[in-house]
């Protein structure tokens, strides 16, 4: 039952999602809507599990004074503070939006902005024309990088950049997408028919 139950459930839901695409039957459409509603509920529960898991991980770290345990206090403190602020003052006023606007948003934006510096440094060190293939990749990268900004457009690289994106890039991307699509279809069929069962976890 531990294995058969989930596999049978997966088969029924999988077939429902497949069949509903080809019919307008009211009963099937209603069950399809139920399945979508439940999917959102399950997703919501996974968020709660994630928060519990995060708290347990950091709580254990604080308890045994693991490396960087002070940061764990900050993590749990921030989590509790934001939850309390949202519950007491609502997410639209008080400390919750203030913390989002003035702490979370600038911190996240700063972390992402730092990428520009690391990209510059990494490009400088890694983009070496060691072979013909590497030289071609390098040339394409430089043209697209410049062709996508006004300075490169003034140098006449805009149309070459567009050509690279429209043809070589598109051909490669489309090939990858077709491969991924076929792989997803095969995996979905294997899950629905119970051949693929790794999602059930170990020991099942």
């Amino acid at each position: 039952m531990k294995r058969t139950g989930p596999v049978a459930f997966g088969f029924v839901i999988g077939m429902l999602m497949l069949v509903q695409h080809f019919t307008n039957d009211a009963w099937i459409t209603a069950r399809y809507a139920n399945a979508l509603d439940w999917k959102q509920v399950v997703f919501g529960i996974t968020l709660i599990l994630g928060v519990i898991s995060l708290c347990l991980h950091h709580w254990k770290k604080i308890a045994r004074r693991g490396e960087g345990w002070r940061y764990s206090i900050l993590t749990i403190g921030g989590l509790v503070f934001m939850v309390v602020a949202a519950v007491v003052f609502t997410p639209e006023r008080g400390p919750y939006p203030w913390m989002f606007e003035n702490v979370q948003a600038p911190m996240q934006a700063t972390m992402f902005a730092l990428l520009a510096f690391y990209v510059a440094s990494a490009s400088y060190r890694a983009f070496r024309a060691r072979s013909v293939n590497a030289a071609l990749l390098l040339a394409a990268g430089v043209i697209v990088m410049l062709g996508r900004v006004p300075l490169g457009e003034m140098m006449g690289l805009g149309s070459i950049s567009s050509w690279i994106l429209d043809f070589p890039n598109l051909a490669a991307k489309r090939g990858v997408m077709l491969g991924v699509g076929l792989g997803m279809t095969a995996t979905a069929i294997k899950i629905i028919t119970g051949i693929e069962r790794t999602y059930l976890g170990k020991g099942v």
Binding site: A116, F117, V149, L165
Partner: protein
């Protein structure tokens, strides 16, 4: 002995080879100054408009007053600098055209951004919440949300972001699924625009346009070529192009000078690194040849 095993030659005797090993702190400094200066002293470089941005613009221009549009703010604060200009310019244009907007966020972190931009832009344009625009907020699981909205928006979001029952919102009185929605705009920093195409266009035939980060834009070209995506803006350049088309100079156009200089500097560093690399490789080959002959 191979060329790799040869002892290094003093830097003074190989000045060009030094270019292969610049201190990264120097690179950081040059990039920092190169980005900051154009923001302080704008160069006002001319911005060319791509056909993707033109198609995005035309999709919005084709809307009539009173039409309903879904605006999905599908990004979090990390990409605000790149995505906010697109959201602001798009929303401002939609309000100018008296198009009604149903906004939502497919990332929890996007709700604060969407709420702020909606509030500020609506105040500037004198738009009323509930009739001219609404904000549904965040719903767990983007795929189920996109599919379920095609069946019933009110069932997918029983309440809006502020806790008001959606059944009480005048804008949704006659709009409960995609059939009354003329256009979906996804401003996305991830593959979310692709999901809108898969679920809302693929199953319901909805017209989709998107704004993406420059990196993500490369990945959605195939959808634009096939017509599954009606138009898109790629990165800050896309935002600047849309601002150019709508005649409003915003942070997209202001950021273009800095981005141009940053890209040029990165390319310059790549060129310098390669000059150093070739000089060093040539020296090692010469040394190896001499060792072999000797």
């Amino acid at each position: 002995m191979s060329a790799r095993d040869l002892p290094p030659v003093p830097a003074a005797r190989r000045p060009l080879a030094v270019l292969a090993g610049l201190d990264r702190r120097l690179i950081f400094l040059v990039i920092g100054v190169g980005v900051a200066l154009p923001l302080l002293f704008p160069l006002n470089l001319p911005v060319g408009v791509s056909r993707e941005a033109t198609a995005y613009y035309e999709a919005i221009e084709a809307l009539a007053p009173g039409d309903v549009v879904i605006l999905a703010v599908d990004y979090e604060p990390d990409t605000m600098a790149e995505m906010d200009p697109m959201t602001v310019a798009t929303l401002a244009r939609l309000f100018e055209k008296d198009v009604r907007v149903i906004a939502l966020a497919d990332y929890a972190g996007g709700t604060g951004i969407a709420a702020r931009i909606l509030r500020e832009t609506a105040r500037e344009r004198g738009k009323a919440y509930g009739t001219d625009y609404i904000f549904l907020g965040y719903n767990p699981d983007y795929s189920a949300t996109m599919l379920r909205m095609g069946e019933s928006i009110r069932a997918t979001f029983p309440t809006d972001h502020y806790g008001t029952p959606t059944a009480q919102l005048p804008l949704l009185a006659n709009v409960d699924d995609y059939s009354r929605v003329k256009l979906i705009v996804s401003i996305s920093s991830s593959a979310m625009a692709e999901y809108w195409i898969l679920f809302a266009h693929g199953k319901f035939g909805e017209k989709i346009i998107a704004g993406n980060t420059a990196i993500q834009a490369v990945l959605i070209y195939p959808y634009f070529q096939t017509g599954q995506l009606a138009g898109f803006l790629g990165g800050l350049k896309g935002a600047a192009e849309y601002e150019q088309l709508t005649g409003r100079r915003g942070s997209g156009m202001r950021g273009m000078d800095a981005q141009s200089v940053a890209h040029a500097l990165i390319v310059a560093f790549i060129v310098l690194g390669n000059i150093g690399f070739f000089v060093e490789r040539s020296r090692r080959r010469d040394a190896a040849r001499r060792t072999h002959v000797g």
